[in-house]
Symmetry: C2
Subunit: 347 residues, 2 copies
């Protein structure tokens, strides 16, 4: 194995870039982490509801860092119409993100059942837009559903949607279970799946009492993590990186009061490509790096890499991850803060 690796224009197909001062801080971390494309989540306050808002948000991000390609999404809600889908398509919007109600950050307006959205999905299928699914059902003691089994319990919805809209491209986001991996593999070529960097590292034990590793969906059993690793090692073309990198003010991550839990989210953007390289190397899949962080996702999204956009990483002896990034009053603490990485991006 060479000491350097060149990757054609790495693409992060699921990232939270936020708004205002926090966006100013974290949007620059996409490039710093070795990436050239950001597939941008719409769960702002208020959520991105239509093409006009998405274009405005895109312009704000471009003003912060014009060197990144931003693929924009809308937030699925009852206000979204087939007409708006067609308008969004003409405006270059790529996807629509569905959040189940209340399961993660800014998802209070999330969906409760899919049937009411069938006209929207029909328009998306016709327009060839992508449906991005946060694949969890809300917790419910009556059905024994909690954060551990919320993803497997969602999979029948995915199967049903795919059966009803076989030509609609669907991405199951941030899969965390063997059941999800097997489900996506069993479905047609229009169904893909993102995997985060941190879910390749963590299991339940890592977030039990450790809020810095707490995110939604939560990391699951060791065997689930193994399934995520195996499908990458196999080089399956419908599985690719979506970091779900999600910045939160540090005190909301570190400290719980008896009445306020910590925020859900793991922030990986500034170290993303070295982190993924190190993790894939740890389970013998470094040869799958370019497929996982670029080729597979770009093919599924029909987002070809621009010429001359190779990013090079090189092996290093312990590059310490910053404890914190600060800009003005905003700050973020990255995953693996204070630990050493064995790869770095060549500037």
């Amino acid at each position: 194995m060479s000491d350097t690796i060149a990757i054609a224009s790495p693409a992060d197909f699921h990232v939270h870039l936020r708004q205002g001062d926090l966006a100013a801080l974290v949007t620059k971390h996409v490039r710093q982490g070795g990436f050239r494309l950001a597939y941008v989540m719409p769960n702002l306050k208020p959520p991105i509801a239509n093409a006009e808002e998405a274009l405005l948000y895109k312009a704000q991000l471009q003003a912060i860092d014009p060197t990144i390609e931003y693929l924009m999404t809308l937030y699925l809600s009852p206000d979204l119409t087939p007409d708006e889908i067609r308008k969004a398509k003409r405006a270059g919007i790529v996807g629509v993100k569905s959040y189940p109600r209340g399961v993660t950050t800014n998802s209070d307006g999330g969906i409760e059942s899919y049937e009411t959205y069938y006209p929207v999905f029909e328009a998306m299928e016709q327009e060839d837009m992508v449906l991005n699914l946060h694949g969890e059902i809300p917790s419910d003691a009556a059905t024994n559903t909690c954060v551990i089994n919320a993803e497997p319990a969602f999979l029948p919805h995915l199967r049903k949607l795919h059966a009803r809209f076989p030509r609609l491209r669907i991405v199951l986001e941030h899969a965390t279970t063997r059941a999800a991996v097997e489900c996506v593999k069993s479905l047609g070529d229009t169904v893909a799946c993102t995997i985060t960097a941190h879910h390749l590292v963590l299991t339940v034990d890592d977030w039990a009492g450790q809020s810095w590793n707490f995110c939604k969906p939560v990391a699951k059993f060791p065997d689930d993590r193994q399934a995520l690793r195996d499908v990458i090692k196999e080089g399956h073309p419908r599985f690719f990186l979506g970091s779900d990198s999600a910045p939160h003010p540090p005190h909301t991550k570190s400290t719980a009061t008896p009445v306020h839990a910590c925020a859900a989210g793991v922030y990986t953007s500034p170290i993303l490509l070295p982190l993924v390289a190190q993790v894939l190397e740890s389970f013998g899949a470094l040869d799958r790096l370019e497929g996982f962080v670029s080729t597979n996702g770009r093919i599924f999204y029909r987002a070809s890499a621009s010429a001359g956009e190779n990013v090079v990483i090189r092996k290093v002896q312990g590059k310490r991850v910053e404890e914190k990034w600060v800009e003005g009053e905003q700050s973020v603490v990255p995953f693996w803060a204070g630990r050493d990485l064995s790869w770095e991006v060549v500037e």
Copy 2:
């Protein structure tokens, strides 16, 4: 239902009273919480290894509050001999606590396999001492074991011990799963089980990102919680309260750094009897209160209640739980801090 209930000498068959200044603060909370007997855990620093240390510890606790009956335990380790068991029995020590290595607070000296302890267990069986089992196996990715399935994975050890030592009284401590409840029910009359107050309330979702609700064993699925509630509602005589109330300095409960997780433990002592009454009432088992917090455990432990030790609780309109108890430099935050209870102990 009357507005007051008298309970014959409530007994907490699993409690952590700690050492030094912290013991001075929390030992008094046993009585404040409505209890008259404390079955005291031996996981001090260093652990209680022999009869002499247990008697010294008991004297320290009696000096803090002489009105409580303290039943003392030893910490199972390779240093414990059959001779020491016989000596402990003569000294009035009641039980021996087994911790799997590294799974909870101060368990670094815990056991790895039971066979080497068979001579000790034989002596305990002869002397009629009680074996208290923390029923979890250590996490291990190779066997897909993590905090969620660590208890069910332990149950074969319980079955094997009971088969080998059928007359040895064994208590599976702080059961959290349907599998554990069903296992204990299926075994003979020498096997009992404690249940905490907080595991009757919490599920995984409650400690995900909320370190104040994080303890070991962790709370499990809603269906597991239902099994704990059902076996109490059924009035099964081999299931009784062991609070596992475990105080920690508040900052170690509230705040995680990227390298230090929060401490595991939920502190219920000062509100224990009202809390248990409210929780049992919530699932229609208030008529089982005396059995659960006194009779069942006292029969199993052959620890009859002294005459005139009734404790009375009465219904109240929202009695606020203190945010914090402070004494000198020590402080503790109770479970349900700032929330309202619907029962109180009549002083």
